[in-house]
C-alpha cells in the first residue's frame, strides 16, 4: 500500500513532462526496450490495419454505387442526397431517436433510484444487486427478445394481467403504435449496468456531508439535491453518454421482434436494421456505407450536445 502511494505521484509526473535528464534515460533504459514495445504491439498494429483501411474505404464507398458483384462506380454525392429523400431513412431515424430519447432517461432514472435505495446500510445488498443486474446481461440476447414477443403477444401475460383490471390490452407487438414501446420497456428493464456504476459512485460521497446537512436540518430531498446530485453528476453524465451511444446503435431487438423486417409499418425499423437491410438484403453497399457515415455524424452530434450541455449541470470538484 505504501509503495503504491509513493509510486502514484511519481508516475504521474513522469507522464506529464519529459524526464529531467533525457540523455541518461536514453542510455540506461530506452535503448534495449525500444523494439520490445513494437513487438508487443504487433497484433494491435495488424488490428489497426483492419480498422483504418476499412474506415477510409467506407468513406470512399459512400460515394459509389456498389452491389458486391460489379466494381464500385463513382456517383459523387448522390447517396448522401438520397439519404435525405428516402422515407425509410426518415422513418428509421424517427424510430431510433424516439427509442433513445425515451428509454435512456427512463433507464437512468430507474438506475439512480434503485442505486439510492440500495445505498443505505442494507441487508442482502449482494442479492438485490445481483437480481437487478442480471437482466442487463441477458437483455441483448435473442432469447429475451423472443420472450418479450410472447409476453406482449395478443394473448400474452401482459394482456392477461391488464384483463384482471378490465383493460383490453392492445396487440402490442403487431400494432404499429405500441411495438416500439415493447422494446423501450425491454431497454428500461436492463438498467442494471448503470445502476452498478451509480452504486459505486454513491459510495464515494463522504458521509460527513450528510451528517453536517442533517445537523443543519436539511430534508432528505434537500440533501439529495444539494449534495448527492452535484457530486455524482459526472457519473450521470458518463452513463448518459454511454447509454446514448449504445441505444443509437440498437439492432438485435428490432431485428428479432420484427423478424428482420422492421415492421409493423416500420415501427421498429431501427437505423442499423435499415442499414443492414440496404447492405445485406438489397446489396446497396455504397448506399449503406453512406448511411453508416450519417450515423457516425449523428452519434458525434449527440455526444457533442451532451458534452456542451454538461457545462450547465455537471459539477466537477476542482
Amino acid at each position: 500500500m505504501a509503495v503504491m502511494a509513493t509510486e502514484a505521484p511519481q508516475r504521474a509526473s513522469d507522464e506529464a513532462r519529459p524526464a529531467p535528464s533525457p540523455q541518461r534515460r536514453t542510455r540506461r533504459r530506452r535503448r534495449p526496450i525500444q523494439w520490445a514495445g513494437y513487438i508487443f504491439l504487433l497484433p494491435w498494429f495488424l488490428g489497426m490495419l483492419f480498422t483504418i483501411v476499412p474506415f477510409g474505404a467506407s468513406l470512399y464507398l459512400g460515394f459509389t454505387d456498389y452491389d458486391l458483384l460489379t466494381p464500385p462506380s463513382w456517383v459523387g454525392l448522390e447517396n448522401f442526397i438520397e439519404l435525405f429523400r428516402d422515407p425509410r431513412v426518415g422513418q428509421s431515424l424517427i424510430v431510433t431517436f424516439t427509442y433513445t430519447l425515451v428509454s435512456v432517461p427512463l433507464s437512468l432514472i430507474a438506475a439512480l433510484g434503485v442505486a439510492l435505495a440500495l445505498n443505505r446500510g442494507l441487508r442482502g445488498l449482494p442479492l438485490y444487486r445481483a437480481v437487478y443486474y442480471l437482466p442487463s446481461l441477458l437483455g441483448g440476447s435473442v432469447a429475451i427478445v423472443m420472450l418479450w414477443r410472447q409476453i406482449f403477444g395478443t394473448r400474452g401475460i401482459v394482456n392477461t394481467f391488464l384483463g384482471w383490471f378490465g383493460i383490453d390490452g392492445p396487440a402490442w407487438v403487431s400494432d404499429p403504435s405500441t411495438a416500439l414501446s415493447v422494446l423501450i420497456i425491454l431497454n428500461v428493464w436492463t438498467f442494471g449496468a448503470p445502476m452498478v456504476i451509480f452504486l459505486a459512485s454513491l459510495r464515494q460521497v463522504p458521509t460527513m456531508y450528510y451528517e453536517a446537512a442533517a445537523v443543519d436540518g436539511a430534508t432528505r430531498w434537500r440533501q439529495f439535491r444539494s449534495i448527492t446530485l452535484p457530486l455524482i453528476s459526472p457519473i450521470i453524465f458518463f452513463n448518459l453518454v454511454l447509454a446514448t451511444i449504445g441505444t443509437l446503435q440498437t439492432f438485435t431487438q428490432g431485428y428479432v421482434l420484427s423478424n428482420g423486417s422492421g415492421g409493423p409499418a416500420g415501427s421498429t425499423l431501427f437505423y442499423n436494421l435499415n442499414l443492414y437491410i440496404e447492405g445485406f438484403s438489397r446489396f446497396n453497399m455504397g448506399y449503406a456505407s453512406a448511411m453508416a457515415w450519417l450515423l457516425l455524424v449523428i452519434i458525434a452530434a449527440f455526444t457533442a450536445v451532451n458534452f456542451i450541455a454538461q457545462k450547465y449541470w455537471v459539477y466537477y470538484e476542482n
Partner: protein
Amino acid sequence: MAIPTTTATPTAARALTRRQRSRRDSGDLDPGPVDAQDTAQRRFLRHVILCGVALLMMYPLLWMLSSSVKPDANIFTEQGLWPSEWRFENYADGWNSLQHPFGHYIVNSAIVVSLSIVGTVVSSALAAYAFARLEFPGRRFFFGLALITLMLPGHVLLIPQYIIFSELGWLNTYLPLVVPNFLASNAFFIFLMVQFMRALPKELDDAARIDGCGPFRIFFQIIAPLCVPAFATTAIFTFISTWNEFFSPLIYITDPNLYTVPLALRQFMDAEGQSAWGPMFAMSVVSLLPIVAFFIMGQKYLVKGIATTGLK
C-alpha cells in the same frame, strides 16, 4: 471507516466487527453507510419496495422458466407460475427440433467464444503492457489512436470489413468472428488492462531488470500473473458479449451447420406456425444458462469491472 472503540457500546462494536468480518469474507462491497435517520419502519418499507421491484424484474425470467416445462396449451391460459402439469419433454423436443441437436450449436458457440476469449486476453494484454510499461517512440500517439477507436461505431467499418473477409474467402467460417479478437480489436479491454498495470509498483520491473530479465520475461513471469483479475474481467465480458452476439454471425454465417446459439434459437420463430412454445422456451432457457452460470461465478469481478470502468 474508523471503528469506534471507547464511545461505542459493546453491542454496537460487535455488530460492526461482525459486519466487517462478513464483508471481508464475502470479498464484496460494503453494505453502504448506515443512516442515523433510518428508522426500523423505513428500513422495512424499503425492503418491501425493493423486493417488489426485484420480483417485477425477475418475473419475465421466471415466466420463461415455468413456460419451458408447461404443455403448450397451458402457457398462455394458466396464470400461476407453478405449472399444474409438468412437461419436461419440452427440453428433449426443443433439443431435437432444429436441423441439428441443440448441442451442435452450443459446441459451435463454444468454439467461437473460447477462441475469442483467448485472443482478446492475450492480444490486449500484450498491447496494454507496451502502453503501460514500455518506452518507445510514438507510444502516446498510438495509445491515443487506440482510445479514438473506442468511439468509432462498428457499423462504419462493417461493409469494408465484410468485403475484405469475403475477398479472403472467410465467409461461412469462424475466422471473421475470431481473428479480430486476436488483433486486440476492442480497445476497451486494452484500456482496462493499462489502468490495472499502471497501478502495479514499477519497482517490480526495475528489480527484475537489474536481475537481468528482458521485457518478455518481465511480462510473462511478473506482470501477467499479477494481472489475473483484469484478465478474468476481460474473459467474462468477452464470454457474455460473444455468447449473445447476433449481428456478426448473422452476416458472416449462412450455412446452418455453422450457426451459433443465437442464430439457431431464432429459427424457432421462423417455424412459428407449428407454435411449439414450450420447446422454444426450453431452448431459450438452455441458451441463457451459461451466462447465468458465468454471472454467478464471476459476480465479484463483473461488478468490479463495471463499477470501475462502466461497460454494458
